[in-house]
């Protein structure tokens, strides 16, 4: 692996279940924009894409987030190499 430039911190983002269908994609590699440090920041960044993004991730929608496969909060930090998943409230069992 070659050393990464600090300005191109990459995270892997997953969209699951209904969110995957609404957004039309299952995952993406994303270069963390300057200033995005936590879950709330990433969600805000994604909403700024507009269209279905702003709807599906609107603050009023029940969206859950996991960082590195642990349930996360708005304030959970996001760092290079993290896996961040957005999904609806779970309905298993």
């Amino acid at each position: 692996m070659k050393p990464r430039d600090t300005h191109t911190a990459v995270v892997r983002v997953l969209y699951l279940a209904r969110l995957r269908e609404e957004l039309g994609r299952a995952d993406e590699e994303l270069v963390l924009p300057e200033g995005v440090k936590d879950v709330a920041g990433l969600a805000a960044f994604l909403r700024r894409r507009g269209g279905t993004w702003s709807e599906a991730l609107a603050p009023g929608r029940a969206v859950r987030v996991a960082v590195n496969q642990d349930m996360a909060r708005s304030s959970t930090p996001i760092r290079e190499g993290d896996e961040v998943a957005f999904f609806p409230p779970v309905t298993g069992g």
Binding site: A17, R18, A66, A85, T91, G92, G93
Partner: protein, 149 residues
């Protein structure tokens, strides 16, 4: 102690036998089987598909089982959750808990179901006469899980 996420069906009776096998201190085995119903929210359901988040699912279930072990004096616990497409009357989930006395076994078994329902990354999509739809999370499930905190 084990968690399994699989497409295949399971044999509840055999799993109950196996979980207590070899431990003569077990006096109580509580278990729960969740089944696909042919009706939800008043609509006939012909098919149910369970999606999950591979990797996180097993981890979440193992954490829930570890939490149950830390709260109650149980010997062992098993969670099997199916994914993929199922029909009404098919088994979805199995939870089995062994302990010396029944109180702990019942508590831990119900706790595992309540937490699994609200914290493990599974999603149900059902097919009805009007097409396919994602099942909505139920406030009653959140309330059930909140009882334990």
């Amino acid at each position: 102690m084990a968690v399994r996420v699989q497409t295949e069906d399971f044999d509840a009776g055999r799993e109950i036998e196996r979980l207590r096998h070899g431990n003569p201190k077990v006096g109580a085995v509580a278990s729960f089987v969740g089944v696909v119903r042919d009706l939800n929210e008043g609509d006939a359901v012909s098919e149910l598909t369970l999606e999950h988040y591979p990797g996180m699912t097993e981890k979440a279930l193992e954490e829930i089982v570890a939490e149950a072990r830390s709260r109650w004096d149980i010997y062992d616990a098993l969670v099997i959750h199916r994914v993929g497409t199922m029909k009404p009357a098919d088994q979805i989930v199995l939870v089995v808990v062994t302990s010396a006395h029944r109180g702990e076994a019942f508590r831990a078994c119900e706790f595992l179901m309540d937490y699994l329902k609200t914290r493990a990354p599974f999603w149900k999509k059902e097919r009805t006469g009007a097409g396919s739809r994602w099942v909505e999370a139920r406030a009653s499930d959140e309330a059930a899980a909140d009882r334990w905190s």
